[in-house]
């Protein structure tokens, strides 16, 4: 309680402070620096996808007080994006315990089976792609169609907007690795903004337990216990988009675990 003699002053003080307090609480967060490491070929489409993700993360960050950078050094990074073969990926994850390592390109099911706590797979596994193809062939026997993570002509669920943003920024059509690079930065940045923390351990925990990510594929995406990102896949025949998996009539559209292996197999 204020002493009585100070009371007359209060309205004046409050008038002056209120806009400042509002600005401080809603707009001017202390800026959080969020370095994200990229390990792999900087000329790859995975890297270009990460650049698109970075541009979008920066748009969110300007409103919520984060500043994201893509860096080569893994030391001090909030998370590590990797476009590497399986063996190098395993070593990278082993050398950075407690830091999320996001696999953008390796499809090896053996990587998922090991269930390493800090290794998360944005790329679909070979088994997921095979299961999607098999679901499609139930209604289309003998079809030469294959499964992909993304396609440049995908339009539903605001995919058209993402394809447009990506090709405008990079001059390339978005492919599987580019989508993975984009998705990795976006799901990391959204989790960092929600936690208001760039600590690697906080992020890894949030990714594993709280993720409900809009990958512009029409459904919320999350990680399985084995580190694999649950996601719909696209069915492509002669470079033409013909369907989506889970394939309706064969599996429930929302049953993303009908694609690939869910459990750890040590």
């Amino acid at each position: 309680m204020s002493p009585p003699h100070r009371r007359p002053r209060r309205p004046r003080v409050r008038r002056g402070l209120l806009p400042l307090l509002l600005a401080a609480s809603t707009l001017a967060h202390a800026q959080l620096e969020v370095p994200l490491a990229f390990v792999g070929d900087p000329k790859s489409s995975a890297y270009r996808g990460a650049q698109e993700g970075l541009a979008e993360a920066e748009i969110q960050g300007q409103f919520l007080g984060q500043h994201y950078t893509l860096v080569a050094a893994t030391a001090g990074a909030t998370a590590i994006l990797a476009a590497l073969p399986a063996a190098e990926l395993q070593a990278l994850a082993a050398n950075h315990p407690g830091v999320a390592v996001l696999n953008l390109t390796a499809q090896d099911d053996s990587l998922r089976a090991t269930c390493r706590a800090n290794l998360l797979h944005i790329a679909a596994s070979a088994q997921m792609l095979a299961d999607a193809r098999a679901q499609w062939q139930v209604g289309h026997p003998g079809s030469p169609a294959g499964a992909q993570v993304w396609h440049r002509s995908f339009e539903k669920y605001a995919a058209a907007q993402l394809n447009h943003r990506y090709s405008t920024l990079t001059g390339h059509p978005m492919d599987d690795a580019a989508w993975a690079g984009w998705a990795a930065v976006k799901l990391v940045s959204d989790s960092v903004a929600r936690a208001q923390s760039a600590a690697p351990a906080t992020l890894l925990e949030a990714l594993r337990t709280q993720l409900a990510f809009d990958g512009q594929k029409g459904i919320d995406l999350s990680f399985r216990a084995n580190g694999q990102l649950r996601q719909p896949l696209l069915i492509v025949e002669n470079d033409r988009l013909v369907g989506e998996a889970p394939v309706r009539g064969v599996a429930e559209a929302e049953d993303l675990d009908s694609l690939g292996v869910v459990e750890c197999r040590p």
Binding site: L22, S25, T26, L27, E56, I59, Q60, F63, L64, A158, Q161, L162, H164, R165, D190, A193, R194, A212, F213, D214, Q216, G218, I219, D220, E254
Partner: protein
């Protein structure tokens, strides 16, 4: 004769109540036209071609003009409700998705491809302000007193609160994935928003910029879009999208109190002035459902154009 007089008066009163002119205007995203429904007969009485991919629709405060966001042509079409003809178009910035009409008559438009909201005077076509927001802005709401707007950004998962007339951002609130629509409570202190991908409704303290409550719909699978408070401030109506239902929520607790089955992919909502009739656009069923809000059930289904999206009432 004197005995008949009260009866005659009653009949006259009933007739005038039934004849209260209400028309429903629907944008059909895929047939490029606005369907007009007579609220007394629940029949389509006109179809007005407007241009490619019409989505947002609204009525001027004086009820003399209907505005339609023609997304595929980067314009707003202005329809004269007396003649049901387009009387003019004005440029609205890139890819206008939807908008809200301010009590002063200005339109607050979300420009989906440009990550901004723009403010236009529809009488002159003049651009009054542009406000940078997050990616893929969609839903726009204006507080009843006209001092705040909310724009949702679908791909950055935020509600942006804009002060009017300053046109400055005063809060950016992170919500569930892909926020699509927002609405203010009658006193403007509270806002409600739907998130499509996280399948939920959130209740927000506008001044504090904080989330007060959330409610998942159909196990987070609903993909909700429009949201509207009832006229008595007790209920919220939510277009349940893929759940093919309208959810009726308690406005205070967000508890679900009714679920009303309608057509497929219900997106748009509009309520009559009395609050007794709720109209929905059922996108994948090419129809409008008419709901009795006392009985909480559909009393008519009206076939309209292809992929009906936006909806506005004129009384």
């Amino acid at each position: 004769m004197p005995k008949l007089l009260p009866w005659l008066l009653l009949v006259a009163a009933t007739l005038s109540a039934q004849a209260a002119p209400l028309r429903v205007f629907i944008t059909n995203e895929e047939s490029n036209e606005v369907s007009v429904i007579d609220g007394a007969t629940n029949k389509v009485i006109a179809s007005v071609p407007v241009g490619i991919r019409p989505r947002g629709i609204g009525v001027s405060p004086d009820r003399q003009e209907i505005y339609v966001a023609v997304s595929g042509e980067n314009t707003i079409a202005v329809i004269d409700p007396a003649t049901l003809k387009v009387v003019r178009y004005f440029s609205s910035g890139n890819d206008p998705e939807t908008f809200a009409v301010h009590p002063n008559g200005n339109l607050y438009i979300s420009n989906e491809e440009d990550a901004k909201a723009s403010v236009y005077n529809p009488r002159t076509g003049e651009l009054i302000a542009e406000i940078k927001v997050g990616l893929e802005p969609e839903g726009v709401a204006i507080s009843p007193d006209g001092t705040r707007a909310i724009v949702t950004s679908e791909s950055t998962n935020m509600l942006h609160v804009i002060a009017i007339p300053e046109h400055k951002l005063v809060a950016n609130i992170l919500v569930g994935a892909r926020p699509r629509a927002a609405a203010f409570s009658a006193d403007g202190k509270t806002a409600y928003a739907t998130s499509e991908i996280s399948g939920e409704v959130k209740k927000i303290d506008v001044a504090a910029g904080t989330i007060l409550a959330r409610m998942p719909l159909a196990d987070n699978k609903a993909k909700p879009k429009d949201i509207l408070p009832s006229r008595d401030g007790q209920r919220l109506y939510v277009a349940g999208g893929r759940a093919n239902r309208v959810f009726v929520l308690d406005e205070h607790t967000l508890a679900i109190v009714h679920e009303i089955p309608v057509g497929k992919r219900v997106w748009g909502l509009a309520l009559n002035q009395a609050g007794t009739r709720l109209y929905t656009t059922d996108g994948a069923s090419d129809q409008v459902s008419v709901i009795d809000t006392v009985a909480n059930r559909v009393i008519a289904s009206v076939p309209v154009g292809k992929m009906p999206w936006g909806i506005a009432l004129l009384e």
